[in-house]
Each structure stands twice: as C-alpha cells, then as structure tokens.
Amino acid sequence: MSVAEARTAVRPRSSRIVPLLVFAITIALIVATPFLPNYYVRVVNSLLIYILLGIGLNIVIGYTGLLDLGFVAFYAVGAYTYALLASPQFDLHLPFLLILVIAACLGAITGILLGIPVLRLRGDYLAIVTLGFGEIIRIIINNLDWLTGGPQGIARLDKASILGLQIARPVDFFWLLLVVVVVAGVVAWRLEHSILGKAWAAIREDQDAARGVGINTTNAKLAAFATSATIGSIAGAIFGASQRFVSPESFTLQESVLIVLMIVVGGIGNILGIVAGAAILILLPEVLREFAEWRILFLGLLMIFLIIVRPAGIVPRSFGPEKLIRGLFGK
C-alpha cells in the first residue's frame, strides 16, 4: 500500500474519531451530572449558562462581525426581569414561563433600542460604545434603589416552577438549562445557515459590498442584536431563578469580557468552539480552586498566550456542528 493510499484509507476513520469522542464525553457528562454532589452540579449549571451567553453573543461577534463589549447588559435585563416579577420587591409573583417570555421580549427590545444608535459604528468604536452602554446599565441598576434595590440587590426571589413542576434543586436547573442551551444552539446554528445568516456573514466580510448586493445592513444588524439580546436575557432570567438573588455585582464589565474571551478562545463563529471556550474558562478556575486568586491571573495570561498562539481559537472553523453530525453518522 502506498503512502497516499494509506492516507486516504485512514482519513475517514480519523475524521470520525474526534466527533465520536466529543459525543461520548458529552453524553457521559450529561448522564453523570445528576449523580454528582450539588456543588459540581452548580458548576456544570454555570458552565451551561455561559455557553448560552456565548451562543447569544456569538451571533453578534462571530456571525455579524460586530464587537459588542456590553453584552452583560442584556443578561442583567433578564435577571432583573425575573427579580422584579417574582419577588417580594413589588409583591409580584408571576409564573416562571411567563417571565421567561417577558424577559425574552424585553431583551429583544433593549437590543433594538441599544442597536439603533450604535450600529452605524463599526469595529473598535462599536466596542467602546457598547462597553459604555453596559456600564450605564450597571450604574443605573446600582443607583435606582426603589426599583432594583441598589447595590444590595434583590433577594428572596420565588422558586421557579414550570406547569406545577418545581424547579429548585441544582439538578432541576441542569435539565432546564440543558434543554434551553440545546434549543438556543440549534436556533443559532439554523440562523447561521439561513439567508439572514448569510447576510450577516456578508456584513462581517465587507459591509459596503453587502449593501451593494441589496442587503439592508441596518435591519440585518438589528436582527442580530435583537436575537443575541433575547438569548442573553433568557440566560439572565434563568440565572436569577437559580440564584434566587440578583445584585449588580454579577453584571460587571469583567463578565462581558469573559464571554467575549470564551468565544475568541474557542473559535469565533463556531458553536462547538464556544462550548470548548466555556469549558476552559469556566472549568479551569474550578480545577484551580486551591490557588484561589491566582486563577484569574492565570486566566488573563492564558488569554494572551492563546490569542498569540492560536488567534483563530482552539477549535478550527471547519470543525462545526455539520462536521460533528457527519462524523457520527459516517456520511
């Protein structure tokens, strides 16, 4: 057998090994999680929330090529929506699913409201303006005491329940988050491959040429902002429900940066990359828990290192969900 033949013979198998491995690990994790101690289930939950946030932000950064550094604002909108509508703060106790819908709508509206003024800008200016917006929202939350409880936040949020089924234990949230993440992931992936997704990619590649082929770039960008904000807001509402406490502390600039990092480290524009990025950035600090404060320093240095060594992220662009599925079913 010649070298070339050997290579062609081996290649199909090796291209299946990685997908199978990824699939096996994922299944094993999902099956094992409910039996883990609560502490670890919480870690997995926080991982899932960050994956959800990553999926949302990736629509703006990865698909459309707009660097949004204020994403945490939408996360905050969702969390405070739950906090205000299901707590003693105003003695409102709406059902969880209804709040989820309201949070999604509010997220979309905030996304569009923020989007309208800033979408004319591009690149670094957009980054700095969205960063400013994120800070504005945080400052407002911090100071609007009558509404948000100020720096103390809002405590004693209602326990969530869906159709009479109470969602309180970390395991319950694990299943809920798993469903939401999968749904969001599928929606984002299908959006990427829709005609709108292609328009986003065109805007990312060359905004002016995109206009030249008849794309209303403002509308397409607003759609990206709104979709991304909706996902962020839903993540926020679930976060609020699982913590049963919200405060401005959770919505700092650092959070926005962390989510951007996840995307960049994993591989911009690739959902599998986000999962990998989130796994590294969320789980690694947990593994390094003993070193307490050193872990964030380590994260910062790791980030510089990865951007220099693997600027396109650790998961190649070509290794997307399609490849994974194709690998699994041998097509």
Partner: protein
C-alpha cells in the same frame, strides 16, 4: 457664587489635567497602531502602586527626607511604568502586529485582567490610603478655596504635557513617531525604525499615564487595584472627544470632559430636582462618548474621514 465658580473651575482643571495625561497614551497608541489599548488604564493604577512602594522604601528603608523622597519616587515610578509598558508591548502586542485588528485589543484585555489581579494578589484587593505628594495649604481666592495640591498637580501635568509636545514636535524621535502614525507602511518603506517608534509610544504613554495615576491617587488620597477601569474609559472618551490620534485633541478633550463632568455633577441634581444625583456623573460621560461618536466620530480636532473614502473590510 463667584468663589464657587472659581473653585469649580480649578477642580475641573485639576481633574482635566489628569485625564489629559492618560488620554495622551490612548491617542498615541491609537495613532501608531490603530488599536485601543484596554490595558492603558492599568498603567495609571500601576503608577500609583509603584510610587507608593518606592516611597515607603525610600523613606522607611533608606531614611530619605520627605520632599526629596517624594520627587524621586515620582520620577522613578513613571520611568519604571514606562519600561513596563515597553515590555508589555514586546510580549503581548508585537507578535500580533500582522494579525487582525481585534487580536491586539483582546490581548490588551488579557493584560488588563492580569495586571489587576496581579496587584490584587500582591497588595490586596482593598483600597489603600495614599500619601499626599504635595503639602496641603489652602488658599482663599475671591471666596473659593484652592489647595496647593491642585496647583502642584496642574504644574506637574503641564510640565509633562509641554515635555511631550516638545518631544513630538521638535525631536527626531518625535518626527519618526509622527511619520509612523501617518502611515506605517510608508514609514517602513522609507527605512524608518518602526519598532523603535512603537516602543517609544509604549514608553511615553504609560509614563504619562503613571504620572496621572500618582497625581490622582495623591489628590483623592486613595488607590485601589481597580481604579484604572473607569478612569481609563473616561480618558478614552476624552481622546475620542478631541479626535483620537491627535495629541492636542486628547488634551482639549480631557479638559472639556472634566468641565462637563464638574458642571454636570453640580447641576444634575438641581436640574432634575434630585431625581438624578451626582452618582450619574459617569453616565453623563458615556452619554457624551456615544453622542460624539454618532455625531462627529472624528472628534473635535481629528481629521474628518468621510465615510466614502474608508474601505471597511473584516476586522476579525
């Protein structure tokens, strides 16, 4: 009333001169590399911490007299931070020079994160009281109070800014830096030492930022590992306001921003009948930033680049 006005004006000038020192670093880096250096705010923070450390060493271990120790700590600290700036550029930005526009910015976010946590580990996360670098004497001027500290800050800041102005307009290295910010490829083709110019910018920028940090910490009597974030953003706003890439623009923007802030802080509660208190000062800053970017992205002194002449290609 007049006294109040004078006092507020001096307050604004003091804050403005500190903003200007930091804004200069943003604008110079942007001019040369077209990059937002998110770690620049940390140079400001680092300045205060290094000066504090030096001061305690000089006074405590060496037993130097107060005034000389202060001056020495100031000078050594800013040069040290300048050197740190050059080192950071070499390690974290230089390898990315031919990468996408986004890469060095993300790298600078990493640097920022590392520096903040690094200082938190070394010096603790709590704010620390900072010694005054100037003897505090109060002067009454037409009913307003001005401190010697404010005068000292103004003098120090202006000396540094004139120094920079001289360096940029008169010296050989200044001409090289300007050539590189005009067009890096052309400068390279003409055999100009582009790396030298970039190193220079990453030395002078952090040096000025560190000076700003020492003056700021001295003015408010406190420093903390996270003090660079918000101030950095404000200085960046100032740089944009004046026209990013323009050195006089950064100074002008800083003073305008400071006056708006001081004026706004005084007037906000009055105008809104106490609904919006002074804590919304930062919101005002960001509102200005957003407004400027939307109405005149080139800033006050920046070159107006018409949308037509700019080719937008993918940035990452």
């Amino acid at each position: 009333m007049l006294g109040n006005l004078i006092q507020q004006t001096v307050n604004a000038l003091t804050i403005g001169s500190i903003y200007a020192l930091i804004a200069l670093g943003y604008t110079m880096v942007y001019g040369v590399l077209r990059m937002i250096n998110f770690a620049h705010g940390e140079m400001f923070m680092l300045g205060a911490y290094v000066a504090f450390l030096l001061l305690s060493m000089l006074v405590g271990d060496v037993g130097m007299a107060g005034a000389i120790a202060l001056a020495m700590a100031f000078v050594i600290a800013i040069f040290l931070v300048g050197a740190v700036g050059v080192g950071i550029e070499r390690v974290a930005y230089k390898p990315l020079r031919n990468s996408t526009r986004l890469a060095p910015m993300l790298s600078s976010l990493g640097v920022s994160l590392s520096l903040v946590t690094g200082i938190q580990i070394l010096a603790g996360p709590q704010p620390v009281a900072f010694p005054s670098f100037f003897p505090v004497v109060r002067y009454e001027v037409m009913g307003g109070t001005i401190t010697s500290m404010q005068i000292g800050i103004l003098v120090a800041a202006f000396v540094l800014m004139f120094g920079l102005h001289f360096l940029v307009t008169r010296s050989r290295i200044g001409i090289i830096v300007r050539a590189v910010s005009e067009s890096r490829p052309t400068a390279q083709l003409l055999g100009i030492n582009v790396n030298g110019a970039i190193s220079m910018v990453f030395f002078v920028g952090p040096l000025l930022g560190a000076a700003g940090g020492i003056l700021y910490a001295s003015y408010y009597g406190i420093m903390s590992p996270t003090m660079g974030a918000v101030i950095g953003l404000k200085a960046f706003t100032a740089a944009i306001l004046g026209g990013i890439g323009s050195i006089p623009g950064a100074m002008l923007g800083a003073f305008i921003l400071a006056f708006v802030e001081v004026g706004g802080t005084a007037l906000l509660p009055v105008i809104t009948h106490g609904v919006l208190g002074t804590e919304y000062r930062d919101v005002l800053t960001f509102a200005i930033l957003i407004l400027v970017l939307l109405v005149r992205p080139a800033g006050i002194l920046g070159e107006a680049v018409s949308e037509e002449s700019v080719v937008y290609k993918r940035e990452f």
